[in-house]
Symmetry: C2
Subunit: 499 residues, 2 copies
Amino acid sequence: MPETRSSNARKPKRRRAAADYERIFHPRAIAILGVSTEDGFGFGAGMFRAISAMGFEGGIYPVNPRGGAFDGREIYRSVEELPDPVDFAVIAVAARHVPAALEACLKKGIAGAEILSSGFSELGTDEGRRLENEISRIADRGICVVGPNCFGIYCPKSGLTLLPGPDLSRETGPVGFVAQSGGISIDFAHAGKWMGVKFSKMVSFGNGADLREAELLHYFADDPETQVVSLYIEGIKDGDAFFRELAKTAAKKPVIVLKGGLSRAGARSVASHTASMGGSREIWSSILKQARAVEVHDTEELAQTTLAFAGLPGRAFRNISIVGGGGAIGVTACDTAESYGIEIPPLSADLRTRIEGMLPRPGSSATNPIDVANPFVAPAILKEVLLAAAADPQIDLQILVSLLFHYKTIARFMGRPIAEVTPFRELATAVRDVVEQTGKPVVAVLSSARRDADSLDVIEMTALARQEYLRCGIPVFDELHDALRAVSHMNDYYEGRIK
Amino acid sequence: MPETRSSNARKPKRRRAAADYERIFHPRAIAILGVSTEDGFGFGAGMFRAISAMGFEGGIYPVNPRGGAFDGREIYRSVEELPDPVDFAVIAVAARHVPAALEACLKKGIAGAEILSSGFSELGTDEGRRLENEISRIADRGICVVGPNCFGIYCPKSGLTLLPGPDLSRETGPVGFVAQSGGISIDFAHAGKWMGVKFSKMVSFGNGADLREAELLHYFADDPETQVVSLYIEGIKDGDAFFRELAKTAAKKPVIVLKGGLSRAGARSVASHTASMGGSREIWSSILKQARAVEVHDTEELAQTTLAFAGLPGRAFRNISIVGGGGAIGVTACDTAESYGIEIPPLSADLRTRIEGMLPRPGSSATNPIDVANPFVAPAILKEVLLAAAADPQIDLQILVSLLFHYKTIARFMGRPIAEVTPFRELATAVRDVVEQTGKPVVAVLSSARRDADSLDVIEMTALARQEYLRCGIPVFDELHDALRAVSHMNDYYEGRIK
């Protein structure tokens, strides 16, 4: 890795080159400042172990002025004496030592550093603010700073991970995520693993003394690895820049925004959490609409909406069919769909007749929603039903509701494990075939009413079924409501209703 | 059991005596009509096995004109020849044989019968309607009919169970539930088991040829075993009677209503599902408000709202404190709380100082929401924090957010199972102590971002932690949003805003 940047170069902010980001997100070597031999649970030691566990392929150099060894590796006494060029640093030393540590990184030619330490402006003290200003000034001289008071960067492709995430997924994907909050970031990173949301890069920037939302939006707008951008923000420091970058990015790719701190109590909480200001709900909604960003209202909606944008073709889906066993599910689904402006049109008469012929009688219904009468209808039949419904030119998306937990009754009757009697693999393959043959996407809803401590076999089977659907490229939601709400956000974005 | 009722007595509907209900919900003996020796998956055989598995203590008599044996038990050829008095019957014979079967039950002096068979008015055929009318006429002569086209009655105390629920909970509780839909009923019965919603009686009445929502409301209004009534309805047959009973019941105890079929597509689906009519959303909302019923919009909201009403003292909670590790959770919680009209007031200065002294620094905040900085704060400290916050006279409910899944990191580091390193038992006990000492309820939120197939240990620990909280009488929600929404429904009901 050539050290192209003079250590004392003064760089104006928001002019970082793509090459700098490349060194930060895909570093060839990392220094971890603050790995202590004594404190096994310290941030530095934790991050050392986490990045190792992620299988990061480059060099990882622990640094501590006291030297010694950690996990059988030599601890270097300073950044200066590191044997090789380093692209990225993790700083986990006490707040008062952070400026010197950052300065050393800048001198070494390191492109960027994440500062996990807290004890800065979020304290509301003069000393905290002074230290944070010092960090900003050093950053201005040519090193990109993430934090302080943050969980850092997660980049599945390179193996960078958030504090304290040793077991996040290494699968890369289309979602760029940005948040001040480390807690929300690590939760979303974990949730993404089972939900099937795969990230290009995730940045938890904490107090944001240097790198913040506007610049990251600017970066993601042109990042070819990122197709969907999700943000959780509590406050912004430069409203004009943020709005400009938001609108520019949203014109290129979907940007989903959760704004925290819009209530009075929330604003109080923001102030102590990341030392930035909130704003009024109405103003924020209007700003987001003008920028054509997608506004969501809680972290689940954020995750589900991101899943839909990342997992479905980029377009609106106004007319859908719903297929499932258990008519009442169809009834409430219709009500929810209507409240989100989604149509569930009756299928044409001939298709209805064709579908009726496939379904068990009585108890089934071939109107849309299509009630297949019970949760045990064979995947091969469900496939034919989905193929037939897709033949209606009105339909542009299908939702298949699977209540696989009911197979527990059959498993019990047959005296066999539920994972063996539930045809989830066949189901996922059948659905994939339908998507391939019809060109119309299918979304799976995998509700489970059985989650008690005695139903671990059901929970495991459901998790495996979800995995199987995801492997076949089928987005999965827990509840129909979640799927419909997520699709409605896509409709708003792609039909340009957000403006 | 004395057979007090003459088999040919003509009883007007909705005048059934408490004694009849007693025989139906807590029968001493049950006949199951339609247990076939050949078809192991048939409704009759399934129900026979399910009621046996539930541990029903009374006699269970299988009936089939062909005779024979089932699971080593003699199958009786007719109801007439059953050796003992029977209180309740399960009818699972083909639709065309149902009237004769019901007639035989009436003659035998059986108080009530659930008809699981379908093939009646829901078919939309003349023959289906004719058969259903016949059922109604037989019922009018003195036997209470649940169904047809239903999953029947679940009564944990006696061991009656829905089709096909062999493993529902035997724990009785305060919730009476009524639905046309069998699917929604069985799902709620299963979900209740892990959510901690315990039922007095659940009735899935399907087409409702006899017993329906209005009469059941009338019954639940005065049933001492039922403190909270929940309804899922698709359509009603007698609007005036329904509204009258709804208002009368809601004046005595909370009634939570989910109305399906309010959209155009939903109404279509209702028609094929249980052959009743829907209605417009606005009219329904207004009817429910006038009756002081609590309106919810999907099955999850129904279950969560029922949990809150059943698990918390019957009153409004306007000012709450939120305690958790991870400040951003506090921020979004505040926003959600405000949108539901719930206040998260700042604590008094002296309490804030006291709490600050207990928490790790930096990263914590003693304003309300109280951010304890990380998910590993010891239960003993959380207990002190909750006790201190409860000392503020403003606070009338506390919410503790536990992100226990993060203990996976510690478990991994220590090389021990997560269920061993996570102090969930101590946590639940600490919270119970707080409730006992302060008299102010605490609600737990047990979010888990880890649900992938590789995190079964985390899922199991979370299920055990939930069980432990429930054992200590603490209602548990998956997400803060769910808890806040449920509490807001209680506020509306108990402050009389629904009117």
